[in-house]
């Protein structure tokens, strides 16, 4: 039971989320009847589920809430902001109830009563005649329409006992699969004198109402097939055993007739059916309005653990496949190479498909932002609309989860500091209603999320003053605009003049940047005074597989993420050694380079010709010297393990075709970590 409850909580949370989303949607489109229907349906499912799993408080609560929407649905009540406020508050409350169970604390109880009274007020005010269809729906149990009635004539042969079959067990089994009416026929029973106790003389007429189909009946008799005369006939598509009149008729027939005439019976039931179906039609109609019309299963629910497992296996398959390809090439066995190629092709497609399972649209995290904007703008007395674009853009589920908090923070900042009050906006000649736009789109192997507001923007001078005040920079530091804005991401920086409830508690954009870096993303800010602020978040498509450049230093192989690689160059070792200040000439300009051999304290001599991989580091290009470049490689990322967690310059490991391990470099960390010592190294 506990397991089912968990399942229910999971499902109910989804329902609550959906409800919240629909409510926010309807706020902008109050006349949309379809939305009202959907809201009603969601509430109804929630109510049904919670009643079944013993969440009585939720059941009751939703019941009253549902009443309101039933009125709206029937055009007896118009949806208003008041109603939406109450409903949204109720949604929060339901969420609490769900997690705390029915024995919640007093604060919750107060909240519960308060909301309930509000809800009742709304629904009572508007109910003149309170004859709703609700009471009928509750007593009305589903699944009746799936039942069918069968007539089974079961005549065991005389010698059935010799096979060790007990007819009564078979009948018992029948009773298990549905509702039955069993009649014993004893008219073949001989006189007591001639009775042979090891023979079977009786037979049965059975009426069975079940939803398991005729095959289930056949299965019951599967081992007794040749020990009896069995006739199974479907006599109706509905459950006739519930109908008094039918029971009366068969009682009568059994009494008067030795054999039941099937044709006669079906004719009879056919007539009856018509009557019953008409009676049921009204009930079914109502059910259609309340249960989900969409019966096609277009998606299934899978636990994310299973998905993670699947991805692990696919990752392993990718690794093994790389090994197979390598082996095929090396051994040159006839016919092996085409097979390896085929496997490679299938593996790649499998990998793409499996990884796409974990991708979910950005849309999934938008509801809470919408909610935040709605509530916070009310609270702050600002008129703000939250718009979205490209919400179908998909990202790894883990990334979306990790992203929600930083974006909440960004939006909160925007609302609090960025957007002006309505009066001020009018003075500036801006539209009264401010806009926050969240835009998501693909860019190569990255996803970009932009959050733009049309508020007052950020004053660079203010940032500089603040930074000097906080001792983040020296008073005479010369900075360009980008560098100034970048100061916002420094720890302990907050421009809010006074600490408000909303933001400005000292933790700020530095946390945002850290969280985003954790999922291998980048965040940048751009702002124009009086025009607004734009935050750009750049994210990798997935966390578990990357395109990389496989390089070698001594015996160790490294993977440099291809996204940060700019160009590769070849240099004589002597040129590198003799370079001044670790600067080397490439194409037309000079770039600084890090000698990885020295940084990694690799023993042994560098080869005569070394390679330098130029990688992007912010706006700079930095060269990394390696012994050899092997080629492009699809790296399945594996964690390096707990013992190496202080290894910041290495973000993980991957397994190569030959079964050895290559290390994946985090070039940003690597360069930051060693940049200070840059002049000391090399030479």
């Amino acid at each position: 039971m506990e397991k089912f409850r968990e399942k229910f909580i999971e499902e109910a949370s989804d329902l609550i989320n959906e409800l919240e989303k629909l409510l926010l949607e309807i706020e902008g489109d109050k006349a949309n009847n379809e939305l009202i229907q959907q809201i009603f349906r969601v509430m109804h499912s929630l109510k049904g589920g919670s009643a079944m799993f013993g969440f009585h408080k939720i059941d009751q609560f939703t019941h009253h809430l549902e009443n309101i929407y039933d009125l709206i649905r029937n055009d007896k009540l118009a949806i208003s902001d008041d109603i939406l406020d109450v409903t949204l508050a109720s949604v929060d409350h339901l969420r609490n109830l769900m997690h705390e169970g029915d024995d919640s604390d007093t604060r919750n109880q107060v909240q519960h009563d308060l909301l309930l009274s509000k809800i009742l007020q709304i629904s009572d005010e508007n109910t003149i005649n309170k004859v709703t269809s609700l009471t009928i729906q509750e007593t009305d149990n589903r699944a009746i329409d799936e039942l069918a009635t069968y007539y089974i004539s079961f005549k065991p042969k005389k010698n059935i006992f010799k096979f060790g079959t007990n007819p009564l067990y078979l009948i018992d089994e029948l009773c298990d699969i549905g509702e039955t009416k069993v009649f014993v026929r004893t008219d073949n029973l001989p006189d007591f004198d001639s009775l042979i106790s090891t023979e079977c003389h009786i037979y049965w007429d059975i009426f069975l109402a079940t939803n398991q189909g005729i095959n289930a009946i056949g299965e019951v008799f599967i081992f007794a097939d040749d020990q009896c005369d069995l006739k199974v006939n479907k006599i109706s598509d509905i459950n006739l055993l519930e109908e008094e009149s039918f029971l009366g008729i068969i009682d009568e027939t059994i009494k008067n007739q030795k054999e039941i005439d099937i044709n006669q019976l079906t004719q009879l039931t056919h007539d009856l059916e018509k009557v019953f179906i008409r009676a049921q039609k009204d009930q079914i109609k109502e059910k259609l309005a309340t249960t989900n019309v969409d019966t096609n299963i277009s998606s299934i629910r899978v636990s994310s653990d299973k998905l993670d497992n699947l991805i692990n296996w696919v990752s392993e398959l990718v690794t093994i496949q790389a090994r197979l390809s390598l082996f095929a090439k090396e051994t040159e066995t006839n016919g092996l190479v085409p097979i390896a190629e085929e496997v490679e092709k299938i593996t790649r497609r499998l990998r793409d498909d499996v990884f796409s399972i974990r991708l979910i649209p950005v849309e999934n995290m938008l509801t809470r932002f919408q909610r935040l904007v709605r509530e916070l703008s009310h609270q702050l007395g600002k008129d703000v609309v939250f718009k979205t674009e490209g919400t179908e853009t998909e990202l790894d589920k883990n990334i979306i989860e990790a992203l929600a908090d930083p974006i909440l923070h960004i939006i909160r900042n925007s609302l609090d500091h960025g957007i002006e009050s309505a009066e001020e906006r009018q003075k500036q000649g801006k539209p009264k209603r401010a806009t926050i736009l969240l835009k998501a789109f693909y860019s190569g192997t990255n996803v970009i999320i932009e959050i733009t507001d049309d508020g007052k923007g950020i004053d660079p001078d203010k940032i500089i003053n603040q930074a000097i005040l906080k001792g983040l920079i020296a008073p005479d530091t010369e900075l360009n605009k980008k560098e100034i804005l970048d100061l916002l991401f420094q720890p302990g920086f907050s421009t809010a003049e006074k600490v408000t409830k909303v933001s400005g508690r000292g933790v700020g954009m530095d946390v945002v940047r850290r969280k985003i870096t954790e999922i291998r993303g980048e965040v940048d800010i751009d702002s124009e005074i009086n025009e607004g602020t734009k935050l750009t978040i750049k994210l990798p498509l997935t966390l578990s597989i990357i395109d990389g450049l496989l390089v070698q230093i001594d015996d160790t192989k490294f993977v440099i993420p291809l996204s940060s690689v700019d160009k590769c160059f070849e240099f004589k070792h002597t040129v590198l050694v003799n370079s001044v200040n670790n600067l080397i000439r490439t194409d037309n300009n000079e770039i600084a380079y890090l000698n990885l051999r020295n940084l990694f304290k690799v023993e042994g001599e560098a080869p005569e010709t070394e390679h330098v991989v130029a990688v992007q580091f912010g706006d700079l290009k930095i060269g990394l010297s390696v012994d050899n470049i092997i080629g492009q490689y699809q790296a399945v990322l594996k964690p390096l393990g707990k013992l190496y967690k202080k290894q910041q310059s290495i973000s993980g490991a991957t397994i190569l075709g030959d079964g050895t391990v290559a290390l994946v470099l985090d070039t940003n960390q690597l360069i930051t970590q060693f940049a200070q010592d840059e002049t000391k190294i090399g030479g």
Partner: protein
């Protein structure tokens, strides 16, 4: 008297003994997952010497510790007998798999608790907290290791280093 006997029989543990240089050690087999042949180890740059690097264990990355270096002996030299024992240790209620590099795997022993002697406080260079005790053989001793203890301190040391590193970064940035 009868009861006491039962008690002792209940406490038979199975140990896997292995060789480091000239000395014999053993660990409870409950800790051992598998024994691997020596295979190429990928060195992770700028890590302590006794952390020999990482290997591929059925598609996962496994850290390998050189037990000789860990115990202050000279680096392990690879022979045909060198192997990696994969053990399961517990740090902060978290299970962690780890490979330890040993010179040779010796045998599986059944040792009764009553046969385990206290480790002498003198005459051994290993800290008592890492040892469960000693088991006397005809011609020497086997030191029974408490593997969890050994790596518990490992973790705290690493954590401390990591913390001080973070501290350093904070200072330079602000």
């Amino acid at each position: 008297m009868e009861e006491k006997k039962v008690d002792i029989i209940d406490n038979v543990n199975t140990y896997l003994s292995f060789k480091l240089k000239d000395e014999y050690f053993a660990t409870n087999v409950k800790k051992v997952l598998t024994i691997l042949e020596m295979k190429p180890i990928t060195k992770v740059p700028n890590s302590p010497d006794y952390m020999r690097g990482v290997i591929n264990l059925r598609g996962n990355v496994l850290s390998v510790i050189d037990m000789r270096l860990k115990f202050g002996m000279p680096t392990t030299e690879f022979t045909t007998e060198t192997c990696i024992i994969v053990i399961n240790i517990e740090i902060d209620n978290e299970e962690l798999q780890l490979g330890i590099l040993v010179d040779a795997v010796d045998e599986v022993l059944e040792i009764k608790d009553s046969e385990i002697g206290e480790s002498p406080s003198i005459g051994t260079k290993y800290k008592n907290e890492f040892l469960q005790g000693m088991y006397k053989l005809e011609d020497g001793f086997i030191m029974l290791l408490d593997i969890d203890q050994i790596f518990k301190t490992e973790d705290t040391i690493l954590n401390k280093e990591a913390e001080s590193l973070v501290g350093l970064v904070d200072i330079t940035e602000s």
